[in-house]
């Protein structure tokens, strides 16, 4: 039976994930308050990063705890090319993506044949090394930090109103979600699930796990680097310790893990819940928040792994089952 476009559309509309993302798309229109929009931009952007991280680490179970390396590379390439050489950030973003892929391939070549934790270690080492290297180089004409000049215009990726950024971040999120969706429905995706589930078994069935991991890591690195470039144009300031901070790697991971590893909705759910919460606490407790906030993130990670390894998505599906059970027992 051939599925018509109408039927496909109908099935999409019924999908809770699609509804969820569509609702997120309407949110920026509700208020034009700067603070509100800024928070939404961050929510979309971090959902995007977390989703990109989730492709390799959630579906493939290869934990990258140095994803900030891609982020920082992207931010630096885009920022320096624009601020110092006047090259349009769009070209910068494309180049960032290319470098993201190259970096992913470099790490992947060295580690994907080994036990999984070697990969994690080398991502951490890579992020640290790049931070040190960029601090040492002092790229940019103004010393350690580089300020991105604000000349409004689409060509410069700089806008007068926050809502443009919000929707650009939303588009980024949509892109990565649809790519992830396509991956999960493709051959690569099935191979990836098999690799994440039991690599030895997947290998013995003839899956080239090494290649699958490389491809998926390259995709993840590509998106993260582009996101880094966008973040740099959004913040209009870059500095090695800022764009290579471990904090980002942790946040990408925390949002996905809290939401639900290896699900498409998980990372979005995680950042939708955690970013407003942390923003609220920051305004409430003030400057002291940053250490406490990361302390709490650490505790959350340990607790989730011990008590709810599937994250919130798992919790939701468990609740659904329980409610369904109760309803069916009531009918009887």
């Amino acid at each position: 039976m051939k599925v018509t476009t109408g039927q496909r559309l109908q099935s999409y509309i019924k999908d809770p994930l699609v509804v969820f993302i569509a609702v997120l798309g309407i949110l920026p229109l509700l208020s034009s308050h700067h603070f509100y929009l800024q928070m939404l931009t961050l929510v979309f952007l971090f959902a995007f990063f977390s989703e990109a991280w989730n492709i390799i680490s959630g579906f493939g179970k290869q934990f990258s705890l140095g994803h900030v390396a891609f982020f920082g590379i992207g931010a630096y390439i885009t920022g320096i090319l624009y601020a110092d050489y006047g090259i349009s950030p769009w070209i910068g973003l494309a180049l960032s993506g290319v470098f993201g892929i190259l970096l992913a391939l470099l790490i992947g070549f060295a580690t994907f044949r080994l036990r999984a934790f070697f990969f994690t270690l080398s991502t951490i080492a890579c992020a640290e090394a790049l931070r040190v290297l960029f601090t040492y180089w002092r790229l940019g004409s103004t010393g350690l930090g580089t300020t991105i000049p604000a000349v409004n215009g689409l060509g410069n990726l700089t806008f007068s109103h926050e809502i443009y950024y919000t929707y650009l971040a939303y588009i980024l999120l949509l892109t990565v979600v649809s790519v992830t969706y396509r991956i999960t429905k493709s051959r690569i995706g099935y191979y990836l699930f098999a690799t994440g589930g039991d690599e030895e078994a997947a290998k013995s069935l003839g899956v080239n796990t090494y290649r699958i991991k490389l491809i998926v890591f390259a995709i993840s690195g590509f998106f993260t680097a582009i996101g880094g470039g966008f973040y740099c144009m959004y913040m209009r300031y870059i500095e090695p310790c800022m764009v290579f901070a471990v904090d980002f790697s942790v946040q990408f991971a925390v949002f996905a893990i809290v939401g639900g590893l290896g699900t498409i909705a998980g990372p979005i759910l995680g950042s939708v819940i955690l970013i407003p919460l942390s923003t609220f606490f920051r305004s409430w407790i003030g400057g002291l928040f940053t250490p406490i906030g990361f302390l709490i993130y650490g505790i959350i990670l340990v607790l989730i792994i011990l008590f709810l390894p599937g994250g919130l998505m798992k919790g939701i599906s468990m609740m659904k089952d329980k409610i369904a059970q109760r309803i069916s027992s009531r009918k009887e």
């Binding site: 179970k61 934990f63 705890l65 470099l106 790490i107 070549f109 060295a110 580690t111 044949r113 080994l114 036990r115 999984a116 934790f117 070697f118 994690t120 270690l121 080398s122 951490i124 080492a125 890579c126 640290e128 090394a129 040190v132 290297l133 601090t135 040492y136 690599e199 030895e200 471990v246 942790v250 991971a253 893990i257 002291l288 250490p291 406490i292 990361f294 302390l295 993130y297 650490g298 505790i299 959350i300 990670l301 340990v302 989730i304 792994i305 011990l306 390894p309």
Partner: protein, 290 residues
């Protein structure tokens, strides 16, 4: 040439301290099979421990070990009981995430407690140097290496000549076999965790006499220890010692001839190189999952 020799001597001395902290990691990883990414933060806490003891009592940090060693041992057992025990049967991903979370708890907890300032300890011998043949070696490094050598010797003899030590080696070689011959595996795990933390305590105290500490220094040591363990070959004590010395000498060389800021970068390049050329390390056996 004199400077070159000086660098090598200093590298070897620092290397012994590094070897001790890497051994702490190696014991926990080898016996429990736990991938601990919070190892560096334990070292950070041990450094703060040494700092606090000498600050409060004015004692030499090494004397503080009489308090710190038992505390570290008990802490190791407690950590095993409440966290590691639940983790070791979980998949490796869970180890990574949970210990990474733990690392963040320690880092930011330390930041709240001690502030982000650099703290260091000055002892009577901080500024003294040992002078022979045109070589100047400072006493903190010498004492640090001495402490490390003593503890490593104790550890090796413990592992080889006592029943508990033999049981630890048996468990790390084959857990099921050890269970079958009646070894209480959980007790052994707890002891191994305690021993690991004791190594960390001694190396932390040595480090505080010649290096300053700050809350986010942990990941640096964590990386350092893992690279040493991988370079030397997982599970090999001589390999770990040799790896530590190689890394420390390299650190000195890069710092002197190139740029001190780039040592972390050199670790990374070295690590990738090891993984590409010989992932099993110098003395290691080939990994099962290659």
């Amino acid at each position: 040439m004199e400077i070159f020799i000086q660098l090598i001597i200093n590298g070897c001395l620092t290397g012994m301290t590094y070897a001790l902290m890497a051994l702490g990691l190696s014991i926990i990883f080898g016996t429990l099979g736990l991938i601990n990414f919070a190892h560096g933060d334990f070292i950070m806490l041990a450094m703060y421990g040494g700092f606090l003891i000498s600050l409060c009592s004015g004692m030499d940090p090494y004397l503080g070990l009489f308090i710190m060693l038992p505390v570290a041992f008990v802490l190791g057992i407690a950590l095993y009981r409440f966290l590691f025990k639940r983790l070791i049967d979980a998949p490796e991903e869970s180890h990574i995430i949970a210990t990474f979370g733990l690392s963040f708890v320690f880092q930011y907890g330390a930041m709240l407690l001690f502030s982000a300032e650099y703290k260091s300890v000055s002892t009577d011998y901080s500024a003294n140097v040992f002078h022979f043949w045109n070589q100047y070696i400072d006493y903190p490094h010498i004492y640090g290496a001495l402490a490390a050598v003593i503890l490593i010797a104790l550890l090796i003899s413990f592992l080889h000549y006592t029943n508990t030590g033999r049981a630890i080696r048996a468990v790390s070689e084959q857990r099921r076999g050890a269970m079958m011959i009646g070894i209480n595996v959980h007790k052994i795990y707890a002891i191994a965790a305690g021993l690991g933390l004791c190594c960390i305590a001694v190396s932390g105290v040595s480090l505080i006499t010649f290096e300053s500490v700050h809350p986010t220094i942990g990941p640096h040591f964590n990386l350092l220890c893992w690279i040493i363990v991988v370079l030397g070959g997982i599970g090999s004590i001589p390999g770990t010692i040799l790896g530590a010395i190689i890394i420390a000498v390299m650190e000195m060389m890069v710092g002197y001839y190139f740029e001190p800021a780039l040592t972390t970068f050199a670790y990374f390049v070295m690590f990738l190189a090891i993984l590409m050329i010989r992932p099993s390390g110098i003395f290691g056996v080939k990994e099962r999952r290659a």
